[in-house]
Subunit: 385 residues, 2 copies
Amino acid sequence: MLNFELYNPTNLIFGKGQMEKLSSLVPAGSKILLAYGGGSIFKNGIYDQVMTNLKGFEIVEFGGIEPNPHYETLMKAVEIIRAEKIDFILAVGGGSVIDGVKFISAAVHFEGNPMDILQKRLLIKENALPFGTVLTLPATGSEMNSGSVVTIKATEEKLAFGGSAMFPKFSICDPTVIVSLPKRQIQNGVVDAYTHVLEQYLTYPHNALLQDRFAEGILQTLVEVGPEVVENPADYTLASNFMWCCTMALNGLIQKGVPSDWATHMIGHELTALYGIDHARTLAIIGPNLYRVMFETKKGKLAQYGKRIFNLEGTEDEIAEKAIEATVAFFHKMGMQTKLSDYTEGYENTASFIVNRFDDRGWKGLGENQLVTLEKVKDIVEMSY
Amino acid sequence: MLNFELYNPTNLIFGKGQMEKLSSLVPAGSKILLAYGGGSIFKNGIYDQVMTNLKGFEIVEFGGIEPNPHYETLMKAVEIIRAEKIDFILAVGGGSVIDGVKFISAAVHFEGNPMDILQKRLLIKENALPFGTVLTLPATGSEMNSGSVVTIKATEEKLAFGGSAMFPKFSICDPTVIVSLPKRQIQNGVVDAYTHVLEQYLTYPHNALLQDRFAEGILQTLVEVGPEVVENPADYTLASNFMWCCTMALNGLIQKGVPSDWATHMIGHELTALYGIDHARTLAIIGPNLYRVMFETKKGKLAQYGKRIFNLEGTEDEIAEKAIEATVAFFHKMGMQTKLSDYTEGYENTASFIVNRFDDRGWKGLGENQLVTLEKVKDIVEMSY
């Protein structure tokens, strides 16, 4: 087991009807920026619930945070906060709104060019504007972690940053919100959370026995509830376990003491930046091919995964191979298409484009042991066409 | 899944050699009460490590916190803190020292009679003196939770209390400390953690699928590493997984959204108060008999446990029965004796004594559904003779 530090001060408030606690969670007397996305909160009643529970607070609204939130959009919120002397942000939305609010929170008091937070991947440990969240779309775990991904539209870069000041003060997670989600977003949420676990689990066999069990517990639960929750989002057992899996997949816990990969995400982010493909769907395209290309280094863990999650039998190599196919089959069951050509035309130069971009950034090797070299990235992306 | 709030701000620092972070964790300029137990930290080198890493801090020592820490002892520390104007406490020890320090922390600024904290089970949400811990004995999870159990010697009562101000600011958990522990204490640690999980898991079938998987993950890991770690405490894989299981068994996570029992602990505490039997061993005495007496309400979950942890087969009733026997066998493998008569003579009136004491406290029924009535408590204790 690797050495680790576990610190997660987010107050997570989970369950039906928890919105009524909102007014006691926001610091008394705060002037609030209410940040949201494309306006679904007006249709599903969440906007009204929030406003009812924030009576008496002064509120400035900031809507229109897009999926894969844009630096350019978020900087407008930063200006408003500075001008209006706002002292608390409430993010009402999914991972994109929450990630966007993390950037806003970091940028408000940042001295220098806030673009450096992204391009230099700065660690934000202090001077952040406090914020809370109301989660409307389970997927990214952003409601209980200190990471964020923001896209710079001008340069078509999708970049990650974070730091201990980026934990939400609180997050309200009510599983009943998923009833109003489009099927596509529920499918995305399941595959996103599933891949988050795989990034932290499908590396090489190591001695963090308990962490493996926890990771497998999330995978097993997602396999059990994922396909069903898409069809029956009003079923509270399905909805609550789905939502809880998403949070636990990326709130930092299963990552403690273990190696992690994240190469699927690094490559997938480029597909979103280039073609606007949903984040989760890029993971379903890239992940299985990454496991194929990195088979020799990953087969030990692939076999453990195949045995424990899919009850596969055979030699280590056989189980490992079947485990990749079982993963693809699960993604298909979750409504994912798993080839780049299913989503876009004109993809022929994607591999070399991504390799060049990684090269420009000085990236030599990705993954748990930096063994996903740029050559391997090329193979993985070409295999994904 | 039941509604829940998850809030745990303890900064947990886990691994080999983490003690060197100590000086950066204690607030600069603090005057520290260094609290410890019977003096084992002088033999195993931890005292020296702590002092080396706290050079420059003003330190007042308070040793002699006993197992099942006494109110009477802890109040002496409270007097010292008040007289010496100490502003931080460092607990160096196992669950008893940490639990004791939680009480000290709560009592220093408490207005009124501090005994009320225990006897009225007050929730401590503020005005606590900040404290950190260096864990020397994995077992109770106290290093990452906000609960504590303290014994009032004068009345022979062992009483629990807690509250959100009772989380340690930090806990340093270095698995190599277990090398110097007596076998008996490692055995106790494994059984204590295992029973902590059972208290939160062996209730009735419910819909918190992921929480069950996490609980089972801890149980499986303890079954795998428990017997071995007693023999090979220097094996880092065994030591680190054992220690991490103990923390995760009772840091609040697996309890969120599920019913919990705790009747085994309530009864077990009385055996410790009466006969001084090690806490974990009281759990090994009482637990299996509680499952036998409460078989009808617990058999659904017992069967799930039997299938998933011990790969048992048969009808639900058969698996449930065998699961109890497998638990007893595991406790025996962990060096536990599982009858009261193995530990003491003159036990014949224990059941009625405990029942009378519970009755005096107004306790009518314990357990997840308050179905462990005083009659059932009597049966359980008598079955344990």
